[in-house]
């Protein structure tokens, strides 16, 4: 009667279900089974094992005593072997703290009832019959065994076992249900804890049966009319049987469709004006969506992205409103998602709102037109800063009225009547620079700064002698930055320090502060700065000769920064210097113009000039020490790597060695 077809198969099924449910309490049963595979094809119970007699059977091979049969602890009472009731006593060999003792008892009582009925039958049938009904292999079976009582016994056994199985099945069912419920409760708890986390970061309120949140910047002082409401959705409708995805979150948020995707403000400066047909067709560059920070939930990223879209929209709306309202010489153009302004002639500043929703169309268009990276990230960042400043201003400018019945408003404005303010004072209260004006000023400054840098760099690379050095300050104001320009000659940096310029680059103009305190204001035109630097470089050479003369012991006879003689320079003026050798025999005259370049002439003593006609007036030999006419030096054929070095060589050649 072992095997799946036995009367205990239903019981077995119940046990199996319990076991699969993972309940710890069932685990004890496996020990009763003596290691038989519980989920195997042939479930076996101790009562179906060969050598066991269930019911009225006589036990031949009692199992070894191994302590508690349910939980395996050794504290249990040892079984009374050789007893007639061994099978039942064996079943009782459980310790008091066994978790499934109760179930076991129920099962046991069912089996006991089956057993109690069996001796009655046995008594009825007599000892012979009793011997015949035994199923132990040692017993002889006779053909004369009456089949009827055996069938009855079988039926009653089956019934008892079915009752026991019923109880087990019911218990298993309850366990299954509670496990499922647990999982559902866990999801619910997760939703609530997620909601709690959401509430720590975002404003939420309950409207009807919905939970609505606010992602707008209104509480921070924004006046943008977009409501910026999102809805919190419970995302618990997942199949518990299937594997739960890793990024599963029981809480989800639904943001308004116009805030989906990603957006940013693009600011760029173009040199030439585009075709009118190109206006308003700025496409989104492919920009990867910001990756969520590790550990931050899915909804946080989603809401932050939506809030960013909202802020970008607000910035753009504010800029477009100002662009239409502000009257400038060249009117600002607002087309679609682009604002175009002309800060300087032939230069245009374009501010555009790029918004990509997640649909395929926009992604396609973004890949089509890949423009070069001409973003002005600083300005884009500054726009965000400015709008936040604007928000703060709206918050802080709100003053509580005193006395309390007075209307809201600026206190100074309310004082304007009683204190009889004039128009200028009232204007000063009201005037406030808009976002667009500020950003245009910043753009102008940035452009002027980069152009100045480019001018200095190109001059430095084009002209090797003298050298030009620019020292930019690291920390700048948004509207002003400064650069120190040094013009030096290579190898003579210590003696030639005459030209040091401080360039203060503003919004519209560049102020140049000379070392001697002169201030020159240059306009935004590139040429002006270039001409100025060229003339300074030309002056530097003459200054360098002056410094060199001092070092070499030569005498400066004349010096002029702006020579009134000779050919007229197109840029600035030529400068000139004349120095005489320590002995006074020789003189060097240098004329240096920004355009004409340098011209060096040497004056020799008269006695060295052979071709000089004899003068009748200067008869005495002492007049021979006078310097004669000038002769030009072929400067480009002189040795030396730069002008000052050549001059040093020339001077040393002309001054006789005194030793």
């Amino acid at each position: 009667m072992s095997g799946g077809g036995g009367p205990c198969s239903a019981l077995w099924e119940g046990l199996r279900v319990l076991f699969v449910c993972g309940s710890r309490s069932v685990f004890g049963f496996s020990r009763v089974l003596r290691g038989s595979p519980i989920s195997g094809l042939q479930p076996r119970c101790p009562y179906c094992l060969p050598g066991f007699s269930v019911g009225a059977g006589v036990l031949r091979t009692p199992p070894a005593c191994l302590g508690c049969e349910l939980c395996g602890s050794a504290s249990s009472r040892p079984a009374r072997s050789r007893s007639r009731r061994w099978a039942w006593m064996a079943l009782r060999r459980t310790c008091s703290h066994c978790p499934c003792r109760r179930t076991w008892r129920v099962w046991h009582s069912e089996l006991t009832s089956a057993k109690v009925r069996a001796p009655r039958r046995r008594r009825r049938r007599g000892p012979t019959a009793m011997r015949r009904t035994g199923r132990a292999p040692g017993l002889a079976r006779t053909r004369t065994t009456r089949k009827n009582p055996q069938t009855l016994q079988l039926i009653s056994k089956k019934k008892s076992l079915a009752g026991a199985a019923q109880i087990l099945l019911k218990g298993a069912e309850r366990l299954t249900k509670s496990v499922t419920e647990n999982q559902e409760n866990k999801l619910q708890r997760d939703f609530n804890s997620e909601l709690l986390r959401l509430r720590q970061h975002w404003k939420l309120r309950k409207v009807g049966d919905k939970i609505l949140g606010d992602l707008s910047y209104r509480s921070a002082g924004s006046l943008f009319p977009h409501h910026g409401t999102f809805e919190v959705i419970k995302n618990t409708d997942i199949d518990l049987d299937k594997k739960i995805p890793e990024d599963y979150c029981p809480l989800d948020v639904q943001i308004p469709s116009d805030l989906e995707g990603s957006a940013y403000i693009k600011v760029s400066i173009q040199k030439q004006a585009p075709d009118i047909g190109d206006l308003g067709t700025v496409n989104l560059f492919k920009r990867p969506l910001p990756k969520s920070k590790p550990g931050s939930p899915h909804w946080q990223t989603k809401l932050e992205a939506a809030q960013n879209v909202l802020l970008c929209k607000e910035i753009f709306a504010q800029l477009s409103r100002e662009a239409v309202q502000i009257k400038s010489q060249i009117p600002h153009i607002v087309v679609k998602n682009q604002i175009i302004s002309q800060p300087f002639p032939s230069l245009q500043l374009s501010i555009s709102l790029c918004h990509s929703s997640n649909d395929k169309k926009s992604q396609k268009s973004s890949t089509e037109k890949q423009s070069p990276e001409d973003h002005l990230y600083v300005l884009e960042h500054n726009l965000h800063l400015l709008i936040r400043e604007f928000h703060k201003q709206t918050l802080s400018s709100i003053m509580m009225p005193h006395p309390a019945s007075a209307p809201f408003g600026h206190k100074r404005m309310r004082l304007s009547g009683p204190q009889a303010f004039d128009k200028n004072e009232i204007n000063s209260i009201q005037s406030s620079e808009g976002l667009l004006e500020k950003i245009i000023k910043q753009a102008k400054h940035i452009f002027l700064r980069s152009r100045t840098a480019a001018t200095i760099d190109s001059l430095a690379s084009r002209i090797e002698d003298p050298q030009i050095q620019a020292h930019w300050s690291n920390i700048n104001d948004v509207y002003e930055s400064s650069v120190k320009v040094l013009i030096t000659s290579q190898g003579y940096e210590q003696i030639c320090k005459s030209i040091q310029l401080q360039l203060n680059i503003g919004v519209e103009q560049i102020r140049v502060v000379h070392r001697d305190g002169r201030v020159i204001t240059l306009s935004h035109q590139e040429q002006e700065l270039q001409d100025f630097l060229l003339s300074q470089m030309s002056q530097h050479q003459v200054h360098a000769v002056q410094q060199l003369a001092k070092v070499m012991g030569w005498q400066v006879l004349s010096f002029s920064n702006h020579v009134g003689l000779g050919p007229i320079e197109s840029i600035g003026n030529a400068s000139a210097i004349t120095v005489a050798s320590p002995s006074g025999d020789y003189a060097i005259s240098v004329r240096n113009g920004p355009e004409s370049g340098s011209k060096v002439m040497v004056q020799f003593p008269r006695n060295q000039c052979k071709d000089l006609p004899k003068s009748d007036v200067l008869q005495d030999s002492k007049w021979n020490h006078l310097r004669g006419p000038f002769r030009e030096v072929q400067w480009n054929k002189m040795e030396g790597r730069n002008f000052v070095y050549k001059m040093e060589l020339l001077m040393s050649a002309l001054s006789p060695c005194l030793l």
Binding site: S219, L395, I398, M400, P401, H402, P403, A404, S405, A406, P407, F408, K411, R414, L415, G417, P418, Q419
Partner: protein
């Protein structure tokens, strides 16, 4: 000598034609803390401010039956703030669609010699009181929670006596005429204050 002619019609047109939308209620002293706490949560994110004002009500009696009333108010705890002169028109209850009491209102900031000026004009002081309380704001809505003190000696604001054991709560919006939409916002806000305080439109005529 005849009283100077005073027009009984409120000034209309321009930005002067403003209306005050008003809801009123009161709380007992012991519930003040919880109301203030609630208001701090609901209102704009600002530090709550207190105020201490002295209000004088002036009447000008002409030939007409009803006198012309002006309210002059000054702040006692803030120096340098201008005086506030206010004209309030007849309150209109309106129908059920309008959720707030509406009255015409003219606000003006004045210098401190306002009382002398009004006296010169022929106004007579009717009554005066001291209002002390808290001030909140939410958008354009102003919420004042204050207690009214009776002045024992006329003109001396130092000796005062509380009028009642409760605080008056007023929710008001000053908006151009015809913007009844604001009353909806006010109603929504008043709903959120329930059950701490029930703000209703109270017809002053019924109380008289």
């Amino acid at each position: 000598m005849e009283a100077p002619p005073v027009t009984m019609m409120p000034v209309t047109g321009g930005t002067i034609n403003m209306m005050e939308y008003l809801l009123q209620g009161s709380v007992l002293d012991h519930s003040l803390e919880s109301l203030i706490h609630r208001l701090r949560g609901l209102c704009d994110n600002m530090e709550p401010e207190t105020f201490l004002d002295h209000e004088m009500v002036f009447l000008l009696k002409g030939q007409q039956a009803s006198p012309f009333v002006l309210r002059a108010r000054r702040s006692m705890d803030r120096t340098g703030a201008p005086w506030h002169l206010r004209y309030l028109g007849q309150p209109e209850m309106g129908d059920k669609n309008r959720h707030a009491l509406v009255r015409n209102c003219v606000d003006i900031a004045t210098s401190e010699n306002l009382t002398d000026f009004l006296m010169e004009m022929g106004f007579r002081m009717d009554h005066e009181f001291v209002a002390k309380g808290h001030l909140f704001r939410k958008g354009i809505m102003k919420i004042v929670v204050y207690k009214i003190f009776r002045i024992l000696v006329p003109g001396n604001t130092d000796s005062t006596e509380a009028l009642s054991l409760s605080y008056l709560v007023e929710l008001s919006v000053v908006a151009p005429a015809g913007q009844d939409m604001v009353s909806d916002d006010m109603r929504n806000f008043a709903e959120q204050l329930k059950p701490l305080v029930h703000l209703e439109k109270i017809d002053p005529k019924r109380l008289m």
